[in-house]
Symmetry: C2
Subunit: 368 residues, 2 copies
């Protein structure tokens, strides 16, 4: 099943009626069970008139018992057998050299060869990033890919990038991420003119690191940016929803994202303990529970599962390794959305219109 050769934006395969997702069925803490269950759930949640198909890579013996439970999925998938897989503690360099026949690498190669539109994996993040870069390469005009995710805020959700693909970035990399993020906000978050900001430690013009000040200067006059550059934002602006796109280097983004996760967990634990310690509070919570459930739905981390590797010649989504079927289905929906919205075509259009190109550092072995 060859859908056509891939060019920059995959025009051949996007002309096909169904969107085909390549699944690394062997990555993640509960693989392959929750991968298969997640795919079945995503199928069930698909609105009528849209079609999702799967190319599943992994160990047939381990996958088949799970697959046989889902008739609808069985009718919409093709299973490609391999016993090799990327291990959770494989170094990216090991994954690159020694895991050529792994489920993760084969899923990526399927996208590179035009056999699938996108790849979704819950496996080793560092390995996936390096394998994706090797298999898919970056889009024209983009020097480094970035990891992005959607974050809930007081206003509407925002997209933040980079979250760890690049330990250090120069001003050119940051500007490229700003454009990629702005296209994402338009296509996926539905914001017509996204507010784009650089994450910094103050809002004054002279604050922060040199590459951030340089990036601000470039973005102020970047005619290709499909959004409005609003300058710097600080850490507390993430939750406040001051911007639709927040741009930073991968070190800073990773620290900020994990700090958010840790703080949310701390407060939830404190809340639980406070209620547990008081009989009156336990009684009161019987009445407050439905409201708290609605609150939880608003910030349910499974809804925001799916880190997207953006800037590559193919869509690649990383699901959290510890997620369940509901979370994995979310990651599949994100991937589907990116393909359906022809995300990469829009990226290419933005980068083509700009002349001279903004160029940034290319990846080094230090990264990931």
């Amino acid at each position: 099943m060859i859908l056509g050769n891939m060019d920059n934006s995959q025009p051949n395969i996007t002309n096909q009626p169904a969107i085909i997702l390549a699944l690394d069925a062997m990555g993640g803490d509960s693989a392959p069970g929750c991968i298969i269950d997640g795919a079945a759930l995503a199928l069930k949640l698909m609105p009528a008139g849209r079609e999702m198909r799967f190319l599943i890579f992994g160990d047939k013996g381990a996958i088949t018992p799970h697959l046989s439970k889902h008739q609808a999925l069985l009718a919409r998938c093709e299973l490609v057998h391999t016993t090799e897989k990327v291990l959770a503690d494989d170094k990216p360099s090991v994954a690159l050299r020694q895991r050529r026949g792994s489920s993760m690498r084969m899923a990526l190669d399927a996208v590179a060869a035009g056999k699938a539109h996108c790849v979704v994996s819950a496996g080793n993040t560092g390995a996936l990033m390096v394998l994706a870069r090797a298999a898919l390469k970056t889009l024209p005009g983009i020097d480094r890919p970035a990891i992005a995710t959607i974050i809930p805020t007081r206003k509407q959700p925002l997209v933040m990038l980079d979250l760890g693909a690049n330990v250090a970035c120069d001003s050119g990399n940051l500007c490229q991420f700003a454009r990629i993020g702005a296209v994402f906000a338009q296509r996926v978050l539905g914001v017509a003119l996204p507010k784009v900001a650089l994450l910094n430690i103050g809002v004054e013009e002279l604050k922060g690191r040199e590459e951030i000040r340089e990036a601000a200067q470039l973005l102020r006059t970047d005619k290709a940016l499909p959004g409005e550059f609003i300058g710097y934002v600080e850490g507390d602006d993430i939750g406040a929803g001051t911007a639709d796109v927040i741009v930073c280097d991968g070190f800073t983004g990773n620290i900020a994202l994990k700090t958010m996760e840790g703080t949310a967990k701390l407060l939830t634990d404190f809340l639980r303990e406070a209620v547990k310690a008081s009989l009156l509070a336990k009684f009161g919570m019987i009445f407050a529970l439905p409201a708290f459930r609605r609150l939880y739905q608003r910030v349910d981390p499974r809804k925001y599962n799916g880190a997207m590797f953006l800037g590559l010649r193919g869509i690649c989504v990383k699901s959290h390794g510890g997620t369940d079927a509901v979370g994995f289905a979310s990651a599949l929906q994100v991937a589907y959305e990116l393909v359906e919205q022809r995300f990469n075509e829009h990226i290419c259009r933005v980068f083509e219109q700009h002349s001279p190109a903004i160029s940034g550092q290319e990846p080094t072995n230090q990264d990931v």
Copy 2:
């Protein structure tokens, strides 16, 4: 009233029975009212047998009406009149050159001259950092001061530094901060052998920026470190309380701290909205309220008010500019504690015992 000349660790003045705090009465959003009320409250909260006195710098006309309400404070303070002050939007360079007669500068000069043990200000952070560095200088063996604060965690509170004094740090600076933080954890948090960690984006040895990996190497063999170096921690370890001391550069620390604040605010707002939107939940909250109040007390930001500028030849504490009297009193208690615990003497002892010294970058104009 001269208490003696200052040497490295202020031995002359710490022999005096009372601890004297120099107050910048004109800094902060509600100055001088909440500064004076905060001082009066701190006096009231002092345990018997400990004495706190104040040297208050600022506009006599504005201060006196507030001061006259507090008889106990009146008996324990001296007011030094000045109408000049550092403005909230003064650049540090302007504060340094043009605000020599300001309440902030005079309070710092009083500590430098041995007239007071420590200074507390709720004014412009950047200006305070630069003025403090100019007036007090760093302790021997320390190239750059750091901003530190106490952070609540699931276990016991931890100290984190630097939070914004230094945009970039080299490995030597980070090691110096690690030692300073470890002394703080011992003296103020009461941890006999503090667990010291570097904030990074992964726990593996090869992760992160070069200066962090170098710092890890130095700390593994640093015999002067009064604690146990446990390696790297990630953003979510802050709330989890994995370490007693978390060390990072000022850019990263500032992003992490503000992200924590923003996330806590976001979740609190969501919680409030969820309860407001449901009559049943409102009813239930009547019973749960006492438990929630206890929870709030556990994380009350006023309790954790007070960013400490550590590594200087004098104690300098920055209160949040928007705090109330309760918060300002907390900052005064932190300052008092640092003096009473002879924090700087202990720092000097740690840095003296190490040979050869760990040396780091000196400050540049880029910082703050």
